[in-house]
């Protein structure tokens, strides 16, 4: 434990620049969206307190918005607002809206009727009643709403890194992808501290008496605006092209770090989630992205892979990895899983991905069509044996593979199958496997080597580029270390790749990563 702490501090110290910037961005995002949420929510709350008939509709609608999963909401924003700060702010605003509207409404209708009547009876106008009586009296309740909204926003803002808006989520999700606990904590701890601190500060404000409150209320909007401005402070160096890399890619030796050290690439980089990266490239929000070589969207969005002429991206051959104990429990499993070995090449996989990602066929249909064409498909036996649990990571290809394995197991054995697809990243998937939550999932040799085993850097460099050496090394080490077996590779190689829009690549005559570097240096 002590050791982890030590190295966490070391990590935070080493990354203090980034950490500082991310914290500022995080605060900025939280408060910009809060500012707009107050700007929208307060009048809306006042309106429905005046016209009570509207209150059900408005609160109901705000409540529904609140229930949209944050990732989905961010996803919806991209076609409308692109990537970056704008969609993130709008999404956060939507989450902050309900507590503010609801508390404004509750606060105002909670004002003692006799007080309102007194104000009216003394000859105050409607506006005077609102500003001198209703709002001041509702203020503690309204502040409570703003407090709730702030804490929600600090939490949801971690997801902003998915759509390239920055914030502490960059560390958190990078850490999850990279199996780097220190990185996760370096993002999570400051986020938690921010939430607790802001909650406490606003709680103090709420408890102040009316007199002091009145003075502070004039300061509050300026304070929020000031804090909003923090978002603008961190600036990365500019370049003529913009790159969007996943949090995982950012932290990997065979990723951004390699691009910097081997190629000397200097490009304005934003961190973005895999789910929206391709679309953003297609929509010209990004010029260079870190994709996967078999991704169907490559075909769908007419992107082209830049040649890795200094070969920093090691091969990533996919193979199912199974817990030894599961192999004992399900004796027929290994043979069935091996049915797929060597059957899927790079181009087949890209095509299958294209069908799901672009033609929007279900992974189930794609899997069944493929197995039928390969004459591997058998109707399910509807056996009542024990349940095999299949896991998958959260991208298309893994869903298809999981479906294929499911059909193969159900067609060839009497085992039952449950699938746990969409596990957030390598770390989550692998931890689920180690902790007996799933029995197997498809993994990639490169990931096994560089993310899960993390051998000494020079050794990794030496073997990483040899497909067979890597496979044998991870197979042996996994058995020794984790009692997990790598089965025969499926055939395709899904390695990292840098991609550009085909048109832009042609226009700029950038076909390899070295071309890209030269282009950037010149422009």
């Amino acid at each position: 434990m002590n050791e982890t702490q030590q190295s966490l501090w070391q990590f935070m110290a080493a990354q203090s620049d980034k950490l500082f910037n991310q914290t500022l961005q995080h605060l900025g995002l939280t408060f910009i969206s809060l500012f707009f949420a107050v700007l929208v929510g307060l009048p809306l709350g006042i309106l429905i307190a005046r016209k009570r008939k509207l209150s059900g509709t408005v609160l109901g609608f705000a409540g529904i918005l609140q229930t949209i999963p944050s990732i989905a909401l961010l996803g919806f924003m991209i076609p409308l607002l692109g990537i970056g700060a704008k969609p993130a702010i709008v999404a956060l605003l939507i989450y902050a809206l309900l507590p503010i509207v609801r508390n404004t409404y509750t606060g105002i209708i909670g004002v003692e009727p006799s007080v309102r009547e007194a104000a009216k009876g003394m000859g105050m106008s409607a506006m005077q009643i609102l500003f001198k009586v209703e709002l001041p009296l509702a203020m503690p309740v309204i502040l409570a709403g703003i407090r709730t909204a702030t804490v929600i926003n600090v939490g949801v803002a971690t997801l902003a890194s998915y759509i390239a808006a920055g914030g502490l989520g960059e560390f958190i999700f990078g850490g999850i992808s990279l199996n780097n606990t220190n990185m996760i904590l370096a993002g999570a701890i400051p986020a938690a501290v921010l939430a607790v601190f802001l909650d406490g500060a606003l709680a103090l404000l709420q408890k102040l008496n009316f007199k002091k409150l009145r003075k502070i209320l004039f300061v509050l909007p300026f304070a929020i605006l000031l804090l909003s401005g923090l978002y603008l402070i961190p600036k990365t160096y500019g370049s003529s092209l913009t790159a969007g890399f996943t949090p995982e890619f950012m932290g990997r030796q065979d990723g951004d770090l390699g691009l910097k050290s081997v190629y000397g690439l200097k490009i304005r980089t934003i961190v973005i989630s895999d789910a929206v990266m391709y679309k953003a490239a297609y929509a010209k929000e990004l010029d260079v992205i870190s994709g996967y070589s078999t991704d169907g969207r490559l075909k769908a969005f007419d992107l082209t892979i830049l040649k890795d002429d200094k070969s920093i991206f090691p091969p990533y051959y996919a193979a199912p990895i199974v817990r030894q104990s599961a192999l004992k429990k399900f004796p027929e499993l290994e043979n069935v899983l091996d049915l797929l070995a060597g059957k899927i090449t790079d181009s087949i996989m890209t095509d299958l991905n294209y069908k799901t990602d672009y033609l929007h066929q279900s992974p189930e249909k794609v899997a069944k069509d493929f197995l039928t064409a390969q004459k591997l498909y058998k109707a399910p036996r509807n056996g009542n044996g024990e349940i095999v649990r299949i896991g998958s990571k959260i991208f298309g290809e893994q869903y298809i593979l999981a479906e294929m394995y499911k059909m193969l197991i159900e067609g060839n054995t009497h085992y039952q199958v449950s699938t746990k697809t969409g596990l957030g990243g390598t770390k989550i998937c692998f931890d689920a496997l180690v902790n007996n939550q799933i029995d197997f999932y498809p993994e990639y040799t490169g990931t096994g080597l560089l993310v899960l085993l993390q051998p000494e850097a020079n050794f990794a460099k030496k073997i990483a580029h040899n497909k067979d050496e890597t496979y044998h090394y991870v197979k042996d080490e996994f058995l020794k270390k984790f009692q997990i077996k790598w089965l025969t590779p499926i055939g395709f190689n899904n390695s990292y790749a840098l991609m550009m829009r085909r048109k832009q690549s042609k226009a700029l005559a950038v076909y390899s990563i070295t071309d890209l570097k030269n282009y950037l240096d010149k422009n």
């Binding site: 003692e112 006799s114 007080v115 009547e117 007194a118 104000a119 009216k120 009876g121 003394m122 000859g123 105050m124 106008s125 005077q128 009586v133 001041p136 009296l137 008496n209 009316f210």
Partner: protein, 319 residues
């Protein structure tokens, strides 16, 4: 001063006020009396347009209030609420300064007048910086009264002003209220359901039931000349004590014998029979000297008092 002419008001299907007309002359204290739901509060609130009548007209000082700007109208009328309705986020001083500020008074004027009115209501300076929740119920009601009186409006509307107080506080505040010089010049319309309060404070009483006026008249008229069964029954349970309180020794002066005895406690003839009875109760000798209006004196005992009262009562009924 205040004139209501055939005023009607309905809420949904119930007619809260039916064809109500009355006049309140300057300096008069008219009390709207009745059970809850009789329309008295609705009637009161129509005078400062907190409620807008469906038909009929209301005028103050000859001017139809429907033609005046509502806020301006209200700023010119003192208003005291049943639940007091002090602003909890304002100090006592700030609460009192609300209307003067709306009227655009300067700071010094607001301050000197606030201090003056607070002192008259027995709230010394230290109270002005306190918040309403730091005050007792009686003190809060005094602040409510001060707030209504600070601009010295000619008209004062009071909706159950002592309703939120306990009985003892209520009596003492009522006493102060009666003695308050500020109130004597004002035209007051006040709502209450408390018969004793009405008889104690009213110049005239307007008895209401189910939205209509049953009878308007002085307390004595209501006591001795009820217009119908309802008016009679309304007072029945309190009749005797009301009579004792209403009738002064002056009223029965001619009916009192003079028992000739010295060294008794004395009482002014302006006091009520009730007061005389209380005094007699506390006397050893059961005798009391009444100081009449023209320096005459009469000594009475309990017997003499009740006999005179009975005579008076009979005379009233047969008038």
């Amino acid at each position: 001063m205040i004139k209501l002419n055939a005023v009607n008001k309905s809420f949904c299907d119930t007619q809260a006020v039916k064809d109500v007309s009355f006049e309140v002359s300057e300096g008069e204290n008219l009390i709207l009396l009745g059970t809850s739901g009789c329309g008295k509060t609705t009637t009161l609130k129509m005078i400062n347009r907190l409620i807008v009548p469906d038909s009929g007209s209301i005028s103050i000082d000859g001017k139809d209030i429907a033609n005046e700007q509502t806020e301006k109208l209200r700023r010119g009328i003192g208003y005291v609420l049943q639940n007091i309705g002090l602003f909890p986020h304002y100090t006592v001083a700030e609460n009192i300064a609300v209307v003067p500020k709306l009227l655009g008074w300067n700071k010094e004027k607001i301050k000197s007048r606030s201090t003056e009115i607070l002192e008259k209501l027995h709230l010394p300076g230290k109270y002005s910086s306190m918040f309403p929740n730091e005050l007792s119920g009686g003190q809060q009601q005094r602040v409510g009264l001060a707030r209504a009186l600070v601009t010295d409006p000619a008209v004062l509307l009071m909706d159950e002003p002592f309703g939120a107080l306990d009985n003892i506080t209520r009596l003492s505040i009522r006493k102060e209220f009666k003695a308050l010089e500020e109130l004597k010049r004002k035209t007051i319309v006040m709502v209450t359901h408390d018969i004793h309060e009405a008889f104690d404070l009213a110049d005239r009483i307007c008895l209401m039931d189910q939205g209509t006026i049953i009878q308007i008249g002085t307390p004595k008229e209501l006591l001795y000349h009820p217009v119908n069964e309802f008016a009679r029954n309304f007072l029945a349970s309190e009749r005797l004590s009301l009579e004792f309180k209403m009738i002064s020794l002056n009223d029965i002066w001619d009916l009192l014998p003079n028992l000739k005895s010295d060294g008794n406690a004395s009482i002014s003839s302006t006091e009520s029979i009730w007061d005389a009875m209380e005094k007699l109760q506390s006397q050893q000798e059961n005798k009391l000297t009444v100081n009449g209006q023209s320096n005459e004196q009469k000594t009475i005992d309990f017997n003499a008092l009740t006999t005179a009262f009975n005579h008076y009562q009979n005379n009233q009924y047969h008038e």
